[in-house]
Every structure is written in C-alpha cells, then in structure tokens.
Symmetry: C2
Subunit: 314 residues, 2 copies
C-alpha cells in the first residue's frame, strides 16, 4: 500500500502538518516514508540525505526615543537604537563566526569519524564555489571544512537590517527604532526553543539604558538525522544505484525540511530522502531548473524503488 500526502506549507514552515499528522495518525501508519525534496552534490553521484539542519528565526526591534530626532540637536545625549542594535548583534558572535552565547553548542552532536571521512571524499570544489560567489575567501568557524560547516555546524546569520534613513545621500536622523532579522541554522541535537531562550536571555541582559528590546520568534524547525542503516535504506540505495548507474553517497543538507522531523517523530518510520536535483538548479530562484537527465534517472529510480521497498515490507 502507498499513502500519498500532499503538503503545500513547506516553504512557510509546515505550521499545520504536525497537528494534522497527530489527528490522523492511523491513516498514515507506515513502514517507511519517502520524501523527494533534497538534492545531490555532484551530477555523477546520486545521494541519500541523512541529515538536515533546523532553524530558529528571531526578529529584534530596538526602540529608543518616541520619534526620529535631529542628530545635531540630540546626538550624544540620547541612546541611538541603531548603534545599540549593532552592538547587540556583534555580541552574538566572535570575529571567526563562532557563536558567543554560552550554552549554544552544548547539545551539538559531534561529527562521527566516518562522517568526516565521507564528507572529505565527496567531490566538493571549494575553489569553484569561492569563484562562483565572487568572494576572496570562504569563511566560517575554524576547525571545520566548508562542508562540515554547512551540514553539521550551527550558524548565526543576520538576514535583514533596517533603521533610520536608507535612501540616497545623507540625512542626519537619530532613528527612533532599528530592526534585525536573525536566524540560526541548528544541528542535532539542538532544540529551537532552548536556543531561542538562550539568545533572548543574552540579548536582554545587554540592552543599554535608553533603549528597549522587543523580540518576536518567527519560525522554528528541529534538526534531524535519519538512520543510514536498515532494510528500507538498503532498498533505497539499491534503487538509486540502478536508476543513476552509480553508487549513492550519504550526504547532509544545510537547509531545513520540517516535515522530515515530524514524520520521524510522529510516525516512528524511517524517512528516505531521495532527491534528484543538483546544486546549480537555482532552487527558489526566478530561473529554477531541473535537468531532463535527472528526470529520467529519477523515474528509473522510482520504478526500482517501490518493488524493492515492497520486498522488504512483505
């Protein structure tokens, strides 16, 4: 038996899926879950994704005076929310990108030796990525390779900033408020609520006199690891090997797919992340694409997958 679940909320956090799964648990009881929302690293190597990062997303608003002020008439005697916001954000992280908030790394599950070895063998071209992005260097936490940082280390990124005058030229305004969107990608076994609590506590203790800080939690997703062993996973490997004509690699992904963690936790079934895209498919871009080669290989994989899964289940 195959049960199909179509869900249209993934890009906005799958807020209602969990309650729906709980309410209809009996109808979704299954031996394994197949999700095709992942990709592979190299066109020549099919991949099974076994880890996804989670997410916590905060909006910070620092409020100062009740109106924008003339910086000549008030500057120096009134706390500036934009200056304060910059200091709050800078306090979250050291120069190398390591998060400075105590406890942030406490639950981070270290990479297994086999994972570091497997990641190192993957065809990942750091120099090509650097050139493609047009930067003089990749960056990030010391002691880890770029793939390790992307897949198995948590992050803290400022996603947006806005305050005061943002148009052309100069305006000497002392802004009434300043806002930042800040998110952390989380890794197993970090908990989004616990991390949000840690960040909020840290920031609240640092708000300067003359300013107030408001924090909204906009989004959260738990990180997830799925077992790389077991008969269903073996069937998936075999299907990919036949469909693509090459042995699949086990990879992780830096993004989040909240449904995966919910399926695993609520249905207690192994989740097989069999995606067929490539890193340069420009996912979410206005010119998103999917190679016809991948369409055929994906169809061949699926044609193998269901009978192979059926053999395990029977």
């Amino acid at each position: 038996n195959v049960v199909a679940l179509f869900e249209g909320e993934e890009e906005s956090g799958s807020d209602h899926l969990e309650a729906f799964l709980e309410a209809h648990r009996d109808r979704f009881r299954c031996d394994a879950v197949v999700v095709s929302d992942s990709g592979r690293l190299d066109p020549a190597v099919p991949a099974i994704t076994y880890g996804l990062r989670g997410l916590v997303y905060l909006e910070l608003t620092v409020r100062g005076p009740n109106r924008d002020l003339h910086s000549g008439s008030f500057g120096g005697a009134v706390a500036n929310p934009a200056n304060a916001l910059a200091r709050l954000l800078a306090s979250l992280q050291d120069d190398a990108g390591r998060v400075a908030v105590p406890g942030f790394y406490d639950r981070v599950r270290p990479l297994e030796p086999w994972e570091r070895e497997a990641f190192a063998r993957l065809p990942f071209d750091e120099e090509a990525l650097r050139r493609d992005l047009g930067v003089d260097a990749l960056a990030g936490e010391p002691g880890f390779t770029p793939l390790e940082r992307l897949w198995a280390r948590p992050t803290l990124d400022v996603n947006g900033l806005v305050a005061g005058y943002t148009g052309e030229g100069a305006k000497t305004v002392l802004p009434a408020w300043a806002r930042a969107k800040v998110s952390c990608r989380l890794v197993p076994d970090q908990d989004p609520d616990e991390i949000a609590d840690l960040l909020e506590g840290w920031l609240a203790r640092r708000v300067p006199a003359g300013c107030r800080l408001e924090i909204s939690r906009l989004h959260g997703a738990r990180p997830v690891l799925v077992p790389t062993e077991g008969p269903f996973m073996a069937a998936a490997r075999q299907a990919l090997a036949r469909g693509f004509g090459a042995e699949p690699a086990f990879i992780r992904e830096g993004g989040s797919i909240p449904v995966v963690e919910a399926f695993q936790r609520l249905l207690g079934a192994p989740v097989l992340l069999l995606g067929f895209g490539r890193p340069d498919d420009r996912a979410h871009g206005p010119d998103e694409q999917f190679h016809l080669d991948d369409l055929w290989a994906g169809m061949r994989t699926s044609a193998w997958l269901w009978p192979l899964l059926g053999e395990v289940g029977s």
Copy 2:
C-alpha cells in the same frame, strides 16, 4: 552699509558658498556678520550662540557574495555582510558611547571652566526632555552633563541601516550586501577630513575575509566657535536685552551651520548668531512653527541692533 547674502543651500551643506565668497570677497568685506539661524533654550532667556558642531558623514557598504544566498545552503561557510557590518559598527564605540577610534579625541578643545559653569546655570530640564522623548534614561559619554554632550562633545551616530530582507515575517536570506549611514558631530578643533581618515583607516583594518568595504564621504562641515567678546558682540547683547527685556545667555548648538565657519574664515569678521526660535518649534518638522511673541521680540531686537552696530563701526 548693509550687505545682504541670500543662500538656499544650507540644508544640503552649502557646497557652493565657499567658492562664491572667495570669488567675490571684495563685495562681502564687512565689520561683522549677522546670521539668524539659531535659537534659544528657554522662552524667557534670549541667547547668543557662540559654538556650533561640525559634521562628517560616511556611507559604508559591506559587500560579500555576488548575489543573495539561501542561508541554509550557504550559511556558515560564507561571510555574511550584515553580520560583518554590525561588528564594524560596534567596533567604533564603547558601550557608554565613547568613540573607540584612536586619535578621535586628540584635537577636542576642552570646555573652559566658565563654560561648564554657564551651562550648569542654564534652565535645562533633563527630566522633562527624558519624558518628552519617552525614554527610560538619557545616555551618552560619562563625565559630562547632557548639555555638555550636546554642545561640546563629538558623537558617532548610525543614521541608517539596510540589508537583506526587511519586510514582514521571515526570509532566510544571506544578503549580498549591507549598508550603513554613519555620521559624527564634531567639535572645535576637530577636522572633518582628518576624522574621516581616522574612521576609514580603522574600519578598513577590520573588514573580515570574504567581504569588501566601500566608503563614500557624503558631507562635511567644520565646527566653529565665535569670540564672545568684542564691541560688536557687546552691541548684539544690548540689542537682545532691549528686544526681549532680559539679559541674553551665551549658548552653543549641537547642529551645524556650515556658512558660519566659512564667513569667519574667509571674511575674517565676527559672526553674530542671533536667532529667535525655541527648542519646541519643531524645526524641519511638517508642523514647524514660530511664536508671534518671538516675531515681535525679534523685530524689536533688530530695530536696536543696526543702530548699535553702526555706532561701533563708525
């Protein structure tokens, strides 16, 4: 003889006035200059402004990857320009508002004892200002009163911030660039070009790998002090005393009036800053106002001023 000069560029920095004054220096030769672009602190006390702050205004743009990125796919391995901008801005100032850039205070002329005493005697209600602005505390550099900070100490204010996603809700973008408008109010004898050089050098040394910093200098004005003694100043005091029926106070102003420094330097004449406005006139606001009482008092003052100045000049 009275020579009138009408200038319409004051609010955008008086960029052309200096060259005009130099080209027509003979036509503007004079014994004293009268400018009415200042105000007073208290309705009951007329005032002569003898000091103005200068200005240096920079636009900082931190550039990272050549396009906005998905923070899940790239976060942790690519330097984030918004994070970098926050750290650069935070590096400029300590928590108490003192500028951290070495050399910034080197040329700051200390307040004279008579000035600190005179400021302390002025009717300035710190608590009323705090309430009016709706903040829990005024703020700023330790060791100085609010009036001293506003009139005689330099500042560093972030006037604007923009980066990445600034709309409603969450978007997990790693922005390609981040921008800040930053300005310093300067006091005698700081030089705008020298301060801009100091700030640019400090920031340039702190740009993290994976990012580039672009800086534009948008605006500059020299700070100025005019002598509080001399026969023309005595005439001005007398005219104000008669016009308002009260002895005028010597005050400074936190804003900038670039023409004042240019008149003083290029014409070599004392500048009399006789303004009749009040602090709550909402200058530059959509509901800017001027009290009729002040109109009459200003007319009486002017009626006394010209004959009194004429007596000195003859």
